[in-house]
């Protein structure tokens, strides 16, 4: 075990960095996707409702690994067939898109549930003061909804971080992929996967602790 850490330690840390980079990128996009799709779903516009529901159902209905293959291998092939010969997606780009799309669908449902949990009297009070729908959402509904959503959002963050390991299948050099390489080179599966597992665990436990703090701080004002 010590030998593996001595030989491969810096590579493992680098791979962990890639995992975190992929997580951070996809989460940022997922938040934006989630917010847009959830707002489409809570409004009353039928076209938006249809699109929003179709997105959530569509993306949730496909396993992440299939989505990743489709975007990494399928989409460039399709684009090339349309005549753009130079089109390429790096593993990081494809991985970010796949994860963001996937996580965005779940995030949309979390945000929608959060918005719908806010008493409708809040919307009425704000609208009766003369604020329009968008201002009411921004100033009254979403700030309250986000407080309700924090635990679910953090849970989704953790799931997404772990889901990055699935993207080892398209060759992105994140932590799990590095684990495969090391286990293959050293034939020490037990030690390698124990180290990799512990690395994930440390990051996720640390994240949970930070999350708990944030949650407590945000709830302070409510008394």
């Amino acid at each position: 075990m010590i030998a593996i850490i001595q030989t491969y330690g810096s590579m493992l840390v680098q791979a962990l960095g890639k995992t975190l980079l992929l997580t951070l990128l996809s989460l940022s996009f997922a938040m934006i996707i989630g917010l847009i799709i959830s707002l489409m779903n809570v409004g009353k516009n039928r076209f938006f409702n249809f699109f929003g529901t179709a997105y959530v159902d569509g993306v949730r209905g496909v396993p992440l690994i299939v989505l990743a293959y489709f975007i990494y291998f399928g989409v460039p092939t399709g684009v090339k067939m349309m005549g753009f010969q130079d089109f390429r997606l790096t593993a990081l780009q494809a991985g970010t898109i796949a994860l963001a799309m996937n996580c965005g669908a779940y995030m949309a449902e979390i945000i929608r549930a959060g918005i719908e949990s806010i008493d409708k009297g809040q919307m009425e009070a704000s609208r009766s003061l003369g604020l329009n729908y968008v201002k009411t959402m921004r100033l009254v509904i979403l700030p309250q909804a986000f407080r309700v959503m924090i635990p679910s959002i953090i849970n989704q963050f953790i799931i997404t971080l772990k889901d990055t390991s699935i993207l080892s299948v398209i060759g992105f050099p994140e932590l799990t992929n590095m684990g495969k390489t090391i286990a293959g080179n050293t034939f020490k599966s037990l030690q390698t996967w124990a180290i990799v597992g512990i690395m994930y665990m440390i990051v996720i436990v640390a994240l949970s602790k930070v999350a708990k703090r944030v949650e407590r701080r945000v709830n302070l004002g409510r008394g």
């Binding site: 003061l129 100033l139 004002g221």
Partner: protein
């Protein structure tokens, strides 16, 4: 008191929820400075009528004109009209994530009717007026029901409305807190605010209302001065209702 100028004009208002006809045919003119109390059994449509006035409920038929603006017309900028109509709710509906002061200043700042400094100064003046100067930095969860409703009044007044709607403002309060809210409302009435009030406080209606309107089953059954309605009701349904509540 009434100045003789119509500020709210309702003609043949109808409202249905699906197949349920809540308001069948209601017409009413309200004058500037008038205090109108809507009375009636629960489910009679009085709250729905009130909520149609600022279009929290969209009317199914008929027209409502507020301050010269046809609010039932889809082309009217309803947000602009609402700035001029304050509303109070049974459950206060204060914003729990904002302090008392932020509750009051949010709308004037967001709608740019006042600068931040002016809104804050106005907020302090309003809190003084409702007797809660020391609560500016408190959160709604730290207030009693009566205090919450007084903050809600201050919040509505921050937009300088000409009209105030009250939807059972004391129904969710403990009995000992009803008085403090009614006292603020009395002052508003004395200052010449146009007020439309749904309430079960008969004593308050007797004392403050210029007109009492009895509503039942989606129709206006009878309307007149508090004296006329409470002492000499004409319609059997009014008599029946008053016998139960007085």
């Amino acid at each position: 008191m009434a100045e003789g100028k119509t500020i709210i004009s309702v003609k043949n208002l109808k409202k249905s929820f699906g197949r349920l006809d809540v308001l069948k045919d209601m017409s009413m003119d309200i004058e500037k400075g008038e205090v109108v109390v809507l009375l009636g059994p629960s489910g009679s449509g009085k709250s729905t009528f009130l909520r149609c006035l600022n279009q929290l409920e969209a009317a199914t038929g008929g027209t409502i004109i507020v301050d010269g603006q046809t609010v039932t017309d889809r082309h009217t900028d309803i947000n602009k009209v609402r700035e001029n109509i304050g509303m109070l709710f049974q459950h206060f509906n204060l914003f729990p994530h904002k302090t008392v002061m932020q509750n009051i200043t949010m709308a004037p700042i967001a709608l740019k009717t006042m600068s931040k400094e002016d809104a804050h100064a106005k907020g302090l003046a309003l809190l003084k007026r409702v007797g809660l100067s020391d609560k500016a930095d408190a959160y709604p969860s730290q207030l009693s029901g009566g205090q919450k409703q007084r903050v809600a009044i201050a919040r509505a007044l921050a937009m300088n409305p000409d009209i105030m709607l009250f939807d059972e403002p004391t129904s969710a309060l403990d009995p000992e807190m009803v008085g403090e809210v009614l006292a603020v409302m009395k002052e508003l009435a004395a200052d010449g605010m146009t007020m439309v009030i749904v309430t079960h406080e008969i004593g308050f209606a007797r004392e403050v209302a210029d007109r009492v309107v009895f509503i039942d089953a989606g129709y206006i059954v009878e309307s007149g001065s508090p004296k006329a309605i409470f002492n000499h009701p004409k319609e059997p349904r009014t008599i029946d209702f008053l016998n139960k509540v007085l």
